[in-house]
Amino acid sequence: MIEWANTIIQGILTGGLYAMFAAGLAIIFGVMRLVNITHGDLIVLAAFIAMVVIETTGVNPFVSLLAVIPIMFVFGYFLQRGILNFTLGDDLLPPLLVTFGLSIVIQNLLLEIFSADSQRLKAGSFEVMSIQLTEGLSIGVFPLVIFIVALVMIIGLQQLFNRTRLGRAFRATSDDATTAQLMGINHKHIFGLAMGLALILVAIAGVLMAVRTNFDPTVGPSRLLFAFEAVIMGGLGSLWGTLIGGIILGVAQNIGAKIDPGWQILFGHIAFLIVLVFRPNGLFPRTRDD
């Protein structure tokens, strides 16, 4: 019994990481209607940038975020303005193809520079600390921290989108970029900022992932898949939904792994399919009355 409780708690905490992967994807799709196939590779890219920062400066992984976050933001802004803005239009296919190509480019560059070796960012004893809840049930401090970061991230994004001038500009541009221009909103700049913001989330998620698990240049696509599943289970357009989607995925994977270690990923996909069968629009679809 206690073992299962343990499994489920671990799953929920893992879900926090998936929610972080998913939140960036959801913002990119929500604001620009752009399906970012290269999302997982950007997460891995952030992890490698952190690795370089750590190797050159000797700081701890969390401190490296002070460099990784601005680097990823600037990269995202110019990626959007320099390339992706030109792919946007009525057709969803061009951005799909371009980000798919970008995914291959990033993977190969990372392989070329860093080789296929598996890497891990080390955060010292913090990684293995745990809190004992009851007899036989304890949770890792680091997974808990990841989950709390995910919660704070989603609350912060919710506030940003609902309460700030920039958030209103994001929503208005997403609704109707032409009319947004009549308000004085430069939609190309707003798209750049949205991608920059998404890559801030990617930077945080990438570094936390890299402390938690091994990574190498080829693990991007599976992160993309987890992010997709979390976003779609949550219902496109709902940030809280991405957290719930992430948690369902995390719990399902942990249950699968408990039954048989080979079933971890499979159980995640099965949970995804079950949710889609019963709720084709996800659990919290955005209701729009237009």
Binding site: R168, L182, D290
Partner: protein, 232 residues
Amino acid sequence: MSLLEIENLTAFYGDFQALFGISLAIDKGETVAAIGANGAGKSTFLRAITGLVNFRADKFLYDGETLSGRQACDIVGLGIAMVPEGRRLFPSLSVEENLIIGGYNQRSGNWNLARVYQMFPKLEQRKDISGTALSGGEQQMVAIGRALMSNPDILLCDELSLGLAPIIIKDIYDALPSIQAEGVSLLVVEQDINQALAIADRVYCFQEGRISLSGKPEELSKDQIAAAYFGK
């Protein structure tokens, strides 16, 4: 000196020419109406002024400055605001947020939320619901308020009466004098000729991408207008 002075403006959608040499001028504080049948090019003309449609013009002066080639998002900051055809409120934004985003450019002036609510009291009660959940007339009020929030010197209104009941149209048009009183110039596009003639200092009639008639309402006869509106 005219606030807005345009000479020989042409505009295309791809190969299709929508406007053939439009010349038009508006003075400070003046109200000008543009009338014309479906497809005459009125909306295209307003979209050209606001930078949403590419155009060529021999002269395009606003407040003495040449405006050609500006990005659409820079136009509103210069004092040119538009109430677009079909209102085009932002569905994800509440009524109040729709108004607030009208002031996104942060141009200074007399308009603010309180004044818009004073002009359209109905909106204040409904400020927290989605703009698109309102009735057509109320949506039009939001669209006008949203444009005013940018503190424009000239307001372009594209078919304020579109799809509205006559009694609602009257409510909307009753708000215009208080806008005119601020010294704002108005360029009002209308299919409803009587409405247009009632408020305008001068009228231009569009026909198939050209101006077929212009003048003061009191100087134009019904027959002249009918001929200019429908063609021979």
